[in-house]
Symmetry: none
Subunit: 424 residues, 2 copies
């Protein structure tokens, strides 16, 4: 198949999306992934669990797209009708796919769970489909080709959909539609807003060559700068992108914590491992979120000892050893309390570093002097303790996420600073 | 206009949605709002900033919907493609709307900002539209009627769109289409798979009346059963749905933890508050995730004291008081360790209840005897400690989320059991 500029339509099936019962994040993700491999999404369509509407959407999509990605409507229960509709659309019927049946049977056996007739029926696939094994759930992926249009059907569960796309569908699509090479290179920043970044790097951005585009991808205190290069020579393109990143860095080095798929928690993990150091957290307003971020990294038990979530003043005093005087004089949300929490956790949990958070996450609890979003964070080291005041203005969940990011960044900067001091 | 069952299409305009640069939350919200007033969303469509595609989408929508809600493509910096396309679609042209111009001029004056020619052009509207004043931004809303179809055009900025819908559009639509009512009622279950649920409730599901539909919405160990009822009499419909829920409950009562928008962590919160009880967590494999779930609820400081995340054996022993013998004899992932962690946390943090988690989240650390996904959880009360073995088979992140849900559910069942015992 040779198509110079392949077009895609993303189709979701399910009343729950139409009625607004769930927020659809699948199609956003699929949109980025297709764009990344040079396939242009030209339409997104959502229809309900209704055969006529689905058939109509298949037909309409086939007239404007080379690839139709369909998600949803594949679960074991009766409200799912995607497979039957595919059969009608292609004029075929379902038959049990032995390979799928074996996989599903294994899935249940491994979990020691009994398989029902409904589960067996998940292995029934339209005769004309190419079976795409789903190693992450029980609904198989399906691949159809008809009249130069590719139809891909995936389960709607985000984790299963993403895994199938990443390991099976995107590589196949790339092979079929390999016209130009599209290469990304990202620089990850924290603690500087999108518009300030844009001003700082304007001279560099203005000088970017035609074949390299820049996108600002902001996310709660972070901004990912993504360079997308297009070309025909892989080595040359890599070289070009690398050179651009090197020109960019001096403008914003203090804000850069990583590249490409680096996450703050993995960057922290590598730094701690490389320095044979350990860390603990003492959390009030983040309620365990910082610890759960750190431990989301496989192997974090190598450098993370533990955490004390001290939501009440009693726990701050009795477990972390924050002094009663400090709490009475300065309050729980104060530089002094943050400092004593971090120092207390470092001692109690016996680590190289400890970070602490204390603040007002909201929606209640704010005062004129300390409004919602007032947060103190601290990082204790064997020698000294660094503190930082945050002034956030978001909803509870986002205040917690941003506090966590800034606390991890304070740890990152502290480790780098200690390294520098040791070297000097 | 009298239409018995009005149908709506929601149309978004903008490359940024197609390419996945932003997550579209507008259409989810619009879906819930339309459903609530008895207008049934039958399709959602997203097209790019491209006149041909927009015209095509208008035409197609007008054939299947009574109301077409269009968002996006109205900002001052882009080429106002939506308005021009509406003009072409309706065979009319733009003219400055004086009322809109006055409002926009006032908007800038009030903020002491200079108004540009681009902003003036925002007051230019298709001649055939009913002007809908936007008090929250500079892009006016527009209302069109043609061949018995209503077209509503709104800016894509979520806050402006929502305000315009709430104060202007929904009241108008309600007045025009006061016919059918659509009502939802959800039952939330945990710890039973979709297909097992389906088998258990099959007799009930088969006996559902024509006007009530059932959907299974699974999410990591949880399944939400959503009933959607259609009718003309609100009280009767409420009664019907309630009666169906009551008939359903005996089939699955042990798995039900809430209804409608109840989340496990809010259910726990209410139970604790109502019982004047407090809780703490002792977490190993969940790394603080359970605490962060509990504290995601505003006001959780009223019943949550804190947590010890004991990732290392040292912290398990030195802070939580797990005995060295237990760890050496049974290992960190064992019923005995889970029990001592919960009991230690309850004592240290001085709470009514404490829940603990210890297991192998993966991807590494599994053995033949204790493979990845082997998790023990416990819940300590003043009188006794309950334990439970989980056998999960997922990736790290999901193993953590599922463990957290099951641990909170164990707490829920324990509180309910204590209540029962007190009453007996």
């Amino acid at each position: 198949m040779t198509i110079s500029s392949p077009r895609a339509e993303i189709l979701t099936i399910g009343d729950e999306i139409l009625f607004g019962q769930i927020i659809d994040t699948n199609t956003q993700w699929i949109g980025t992934q297709l764009t990344d491999i040079g396939i242009r999404p030209v339409r997104k369509t959502s229809v309900g669990d209704n055969k006529t509407d689905i058939l109509d959407a298949f037909k309409a999509a086939s007239l404007r797209a080379d690839v139709v990605i369909v998600t949803g409507g594949l679960g074991p229960t009766r409200d799912d009708i995607t497979k039957h509709t595919f059969c009608e659309y292609f004029g075929t019927e379902l038959e049990i796919n032995q390979e799928a049946l074996t996989l599903i049977t294994g899935f249940f056996a491994k979990r020691g769970r009994v398989m029902t007739e409904l589960n067996t029926q998940q292995a029934a696939l339209p005769k004309n489909c190419t079976y795409i094994p789903n190693l992450w759930g029980t609904a198989p992926g399906m691949w159809f080709e008809k009249d130069n249009v590719i139809y891909v059907s995936l389960p709607g569960v985000p984790f299963e959909m993403k895994s199938l796309m990443e390991f099976e569908i995107l590589p196949r699509l790339k092979k079929i539609f390999s016209t130009q090479i599209i290469q990304h290179k990202s620089v990850r920043t924290i603690g500087i807003g999108e518009s300030f970044l844009a001003e700082k790097i304007a001279p560099w951005e203005d000088a970017l060559p035609e074949n390299i585009k820049l996108a600002y991808l902001p996310h709660f205190g972070h901004v990912k700068l993504r360079l997308t290069g297009t070309g025909t020579d892989q080595a040359l393109l890599d070289e070009q992108l690398q050179a651009q990143v090197e020109t960019l860095l001096p403008y914003i080095s203090e804000h850069v914590y990583g590249f490409d798929n680096d996450e703050m928690e993995t960057v922290i993990g590598s730094l701690l491992k490389n320095n044979n150091a350990t860390v603990a957290t003492a959390e009030s307003c983040t309620g365990g979120f910082v610890a759960s971020q750190i431990t989301s990294v496989p192997g974090s038990s190598g450098y993370f000892e533990g955490s004390v979530v001290s939501y009440s003043n009693e726990v701050k005093m009795n477990v972390l050893g924050v002094s009663k005087e400090t709490l009475e004089t300065f309050g729980a949300v104060s530089e002094q309390t943050a400092r004593e929490m971090a120092e207390g956790a470092r001692k109690l949990l016996n680590t190289t570093y400890a970070i602490s958070t204390t603040g007002i996450a909201g929606p209640d609890g704010g005062t004129a002097e300390k409004p919602v979003g007032t947060v103190w964070i601290a990082c204790a080291t064997p020698d000294e303790t660094f503190t930082q005041l945050l002034t956030l203005r978001n909803i509870r969940k986002i205040n917690v996420e941003m506090t966590s990011s800034y606390a991890l960044n304070l740890l990152r900067k502290t480790i780098l600073k200690s390294n520098l001091e040791v070297k000097n």
